[in-house]
């Protein structure tokens, strides 16, 4: 029972991190209709910059710099490439982001090499104890930060002009443009925000109990894509739910590995994808995705 509670709590915290990553993914998709496969590399970029700087700067300042770097990277993708490709088929744009991903991932993993860079989170490997239940402090912090950011986002979506512009652009880009909403600005802000979200999530993603930033971090972060897909790709709430589901499932699978050994080792890494396939079998547009049905 203790193990179950422990796993549930750390699963929820991991889920919050996945939710953050998935949110950035959904944000870009909602605003521009682009499935951004370069997202794993953006996360790696943010986490890498933060980890490199954390010796000289404080942890939070380093994280801020990482977020800035990733936001800048994402903004560059939008300004240099995507802005000139509006109206191109979404599949082509997805492949284009894959090209960007190949470039970024190759350079970053080359720089990282076989090193493992610590994220330098101030909590180190401390754990919080609630009775018998122990969970890492970084995971608690990650959960809190993720909830704060998600809350801030929901509020901004609802109450600010920017949020209204974003929602209008997501609902119908052309009409929104006719109404005087600057689509380019909305798209650029979505990319930049997504980049910084990726970086923040990346820093927590690579903190204890994870060893640090290494050359597989970008690939591991891809597991947030199932979170976004389960949630329905165009739903922020869906990204949250999807993230939590993925976090819980991955943690349970890793925690009860010994009991599930007949399914093979390393089950936690593929559990997100299995859940995604199962959900898609039943609900092809995800749990909260908008269905567009055309009857002929």
């Amino acid at each position: 029972m203790t193990q179950f509670l422990e796993l549930t709590l750390s699963g929820l915290a991991l889920g919050a991190i996945y939710a953050l990553i998935a949110m950035g993914f959904v944000l870009v998709f909602k605003a521009t209709g682009i499935v951004n496969f370069a997202y794993g590399s953006l996360l790696l970029l943010g986490a890498y910059v933060a980890a490199k700087l954390q010796g000289d700067l404080s942890f939070w300042l380093a994280m801020l710099c990482g977020a800035g770097a990733a936001a800048l990277g994402a903004l560059l993708i939008e300004l240099v490439l995507m802005r000139h490709m509006r109206g191109t088929d979404a599949g082509i744009l997805a492949i284009l982001t894959l090209g960007v991903d190949v470039l970024m991932a190759t350079e970053l993993t080359r720089r990282i090499g076989s090193d493992i860079l610590e994220s330098g989170a101030p909590w180190g490997s401390e754990v919080v104890r609630l009775g018998d239940v122990a969970i890492p402090e970084t995971r608690v912090a990650a959960g809190v930060v993720a909830l704060l950011i998600i809350g801030a986002f929901s509020a901004a979506f609802k109450y600010t002009d920017w949020g209204v512009a974003m929602r209008a652009a997501a609902a119908d880009g052309k009409t929104a443009a006719l109404m005087g909403i600057r689509f380019n600005r909305v798209a650029a802000s979505a990319w930049a925000l997504a980049g910084s979200l990726a970086a923040v999530a990346g820093v927590f993603f690579t903190s204890f109990p994870a060893p640090g930033v290494d050359n597989t971090t970008g690939l591991a972060a891809l597991a947030a894509i199932p979170a976004a897909v389960i949630g329905g790709l165009d739903s922020i709430a869906g990204a949250l739910v999807g993230g939590i589901i993925i976090g819980l499932v991955a943690t349970y699978c890793a925690g009860y590995q010994d009991d599930l050994s007949f399914l093979g080792r390393g089950l936690g890494e593929i559990a997100p994808y299995t859940v995604m396939l199962l959900v898609l079998l039943i609900k092809p547009s995800g749990l909260f995705g908008t269905q567009s049905v055309t009857r002929v």
Binding site: V35, L96, G99, R110, F183, L233, D234, E269
Partner: protein, 379 residues
Amino acid sequence: MSETLRRRAPLLGWIALVVVLLLLPLYLEEFWLQSGLFAMAFAIAAIGLTILVGTTGQLSLGHAFFVAIGAYGYCYLAGGEDVPGLKATSGLELPPVLAMAGAIALAALAGALFSPIAGRLRGIYLGLASLGLVFLGQHIMFNAADITGGFNGRDATPFSIAGFTFADGDPDLTVLGVEFGGLEKLWYLGLAMLVFAAWVARNIVGTRPGRALETIRDSAVAAATMGVDVRAYRAGAFMVSSAYAGAGGALIALVFGRIVPESFGFVLSVEFLVMVVIGGLGSIYGAVAGAVLVSMLPRVLDNYSDSLPLVSEPGTGGVGPSQASRFIYGLAIILVLVYAPRGLAGLTQRWRRRRGREPPSPAPAQAPAGPVTATPSVP
């Protein structure tokens, strides 16, 4: 006279190409033979992907999974238990011809099993869903050790037809003073498979099913109105592309001689997409050209890394050959999609038109350009 010559020129060109390809094993050294064989294997799989991505407009990031099924399927069906390694792998010891057919059938079957998802999801959504297959596949490859050999991989039984083995010796073969070993013999098998694969693909794309798929790509609603069963055709296209992947995979296993799970990861799926994008989406010859470029690049850079500027030997801290080739094709994807969205196929078409060889076709085969919308819509 010149008119006849002009009309016959393409045919003569093809004949010349075939003759050159048939003669190459007499001259090439082992490195180039192996690279060429890899290119053929990748080309077969890439043809399948271009039918799916280019003709049907469905994205797949799971192609490596089906290639792996073909490769491991062949090894399992043809292989025996005589592995001297740490763990014994089992096998059915079928004749290699049957094993090859079985491997392709297995890959097609796996594609068909995915049809509840492949038939219902559109474009990029399928791309995201199929991402899961690669990771699942790797998990299975690492864990089902008695079939796949796990981490260490397993050997491929050499191919043979009616007692003629495609391996070194047995029968010893010398053609025009050149000793024909395994690679030389496999070269002709690969060539035959590639030509057959391209021919079948041409027939699929150029006839009724191909047009149905193109209509689905351009507008699923219009296709359904015309009486095309959208779901069945999407699932069918996915199955066909999986079968192609299986054939390519089986050939890869034969050329490698030994396969390990690591070679069938996410990176391979991306590489296949690069091939079909560089070649020009939907173009069969483009896919072949793209496969040749993408599969040769890292090998050639690796082989000549000491004489190339900017490329350093692996492990010295600089840009290694595999990284250099990744930089090149990452850049190639971006440049092709931005400046020449129809890839190599589009470029040659443009060149021919400028030379006046071909009248401008009324409806150029174009890359999937779905209805232009700024807003995302979910299937």
